[in-house]
């Protein structure tokens, strides 16, 4: 069943720039929806660097990727934006009266007055597990939406990055057994997580790959091939955390000008060449562009305020200071 959402501003991409834009749009009193193809917020930071300390976010001498994302999500949450996670924005049409309709791959229709694309390096697609794409949804998954769902199961996690190690560690208390299979000897994950893994009950098999999945309707066994040959082991769930590939994806078809194959040129208001469509963050391009999270935050504020006066032409561009009046009970200062 397809769903429909109406809002003032649709934000495409829930990375740092998109989350901050969601806060800002809420602060300006706009109703907002956020769509992202990944099932979690945080974009590139969550998908690729959750454990990396970041040193160049204003006001934070050092902050871990996942903590920054959690803070941004909490900040945006004050205004309760509609979150459409795990949905890829597919098409965009614009009526003569200026109403923009974006449809997701799941069929959700979002009708809005303006769109802000904070799509970073594009839409992320999990790298498939070569051994068994056909087992998706029948024991094979690319994400772990619920740890409890794996209670009592033998779980095999595949990969060597932060996601693979995090999931192996967090599943350990729930699952009957957790095995981590990685095709190299060296892990890409944070050293601390790897050390934690080594002292846990998680069985680590390196220089090995999952070369086969067996079962009737659901995954029952996996074949793990390593230097010592192939061994079959029971598995109720296989979690493939092999990283992502990114691509600009369907927004290429939205009539937007694209430079260098992946950037959207914007003017000083962060408007793209398509009326009603703005952009912010790593995806934008203009003379002097610097691709950093801190720059993305500034662009998000510029884009939202300019979108706001497009939606409500009688309002001023300047939003007022957040410290002047809190429209909602302010969260405790930390």
């Amino acid at each position: 069943m397809s769903m429909s959402v109406a809002c003032d501003l649709l934000i495409v991409g829930a990375g740092p720039a998109g989350l901050y834009a969601a806060y800002y749009a809420g602060f300006r009193g706009l109703t907002t929806a956020v769509v992202d193809s990944l099932p979690e917020v945080g974009g590139q930071v969550t998908a690729m660097y959750p454990e990396k300390p970041i040193y160049d976010v204003a006001g934070f001498p050092a902050i871990k990727g996942r903590d920054l994302v959690a803070g941004l999500a909490a900040q945006a949450e004050r205004f309760a934006p509609t979150c459409l996670l795990g949905e890829r924005a597919e098409s965009l049409t614009r009526d003569t009266d200026g109403v923009v309709t974006v449809t997701t791959h799941a069929g959700t229709e979002i009708r809005c007055r303006a769109v802000l694309i904070s799509g970073g390096i594009g839409t992320f697609t999990p790298r498939p597990l070569p051994a068994g794409e056909e087992w998706l949804g029948r024991g094979l998954s690319y994400f772990v939406p619920s740890l409890e769902a794996h209670a009592g199961h033998d779980v095999v996690v595949v990969g060597g990055g932060d996601s693979a190690c995090d999931w192996a560690l967090s599943l350990e208390p729930f699952a009957r057994s957790v095995t981590l299979v990685h095709r190299r000897a060296a892990f890409r994950a944070h050293e601390h997580s790897v050390a934690q893994l080594r002292s846990s009950t998680v069985e680590i098999i390196t220089d090995a790959e999952v070369t086969g999945i067996q079962g009737d309707r659901h995954v029952e066994f996996v074949d793990v091939t390593g230097p010592a040959g192939t061994a079959r082991r029971p598995a109720r769930a296989v979690i493939a955390a092999l990283g992502f590939t990114a691509n600009l994806g369907p927004i290429r078809q939205w009539g937007l000008e694209v430079t260098a194959n992946r950037y959207l040129p914007v003017d000083t208001t962060m408007a793209t060449n398509v009326p009603g469509v703005f952009a912010a963050g790593d995806i934008t391009d203009y003379r002097g562009k610097v691709r950093l999270i801190s720059v993305g935050f500034g662009e998000a504020a510029t884009a939202v305020n300019n979108a706001a006066i497009l939606i409500r032409p009688h309002e001023p561009l300047f939003p007022g200071h957040s410290s002047d009046a809190a429209p909602l009970p302010a969260p405790a200062l930390v």
Partner: protein, 114 residues
């Protein structure tokens, strides 16, 4: 600050890095792989994948290998032998496939020299 592939890749071309790159910006020459500095997002996923440790961030490339920083860029900004135009931001190695040629610097490179 893109990542750069230096001398150790020459005549090895393991290609493990190509499997790791989330934006498919590692292109295949005849003797060596090259990272497109314009397309690289600086994520570092390729670095630990290289079995011969040929990859590092451009500002961490050892002094004797500095030439490889410029040479990685040249692979994309200058016309390669037999081609009319530079590759530029080609949109992914799987789009253009193996190029089968190298920059002049790599084609003439003698192992043991820098």
């Amino acid at each position: 600050m893109p990542y750069v592939i230096a001398a150790a890749c020459i005549d090895v071309m393991d290609r493990s890095c190509m499997e790791e790159c989330p934006v498919d910006c590692i292109y295949e020459g005849e003797r060596k792989l090259y990272i497109n500095p314009v397309e690289c997002i600086d994520c570092g996923a390729c670095e630990p994948a290289c079995p011969v440790s040929a990859i590092s961030q451009d500002r961490r490339v050892p002094a004797e290998l500095r030439e490889f920083v410029d040479d990685n860029a040249r692979f994309f900004t200058q016309s390669l032998p037999g081609r009319d135009a530079p590759l530029g931001p080609a949109g992914g190695a799987n789009v253009v496939g193996p190029l089968g040629v190298d920059t002049e610097f790599i084609a003439d490179y003698q192992p043991g020299t820098a």
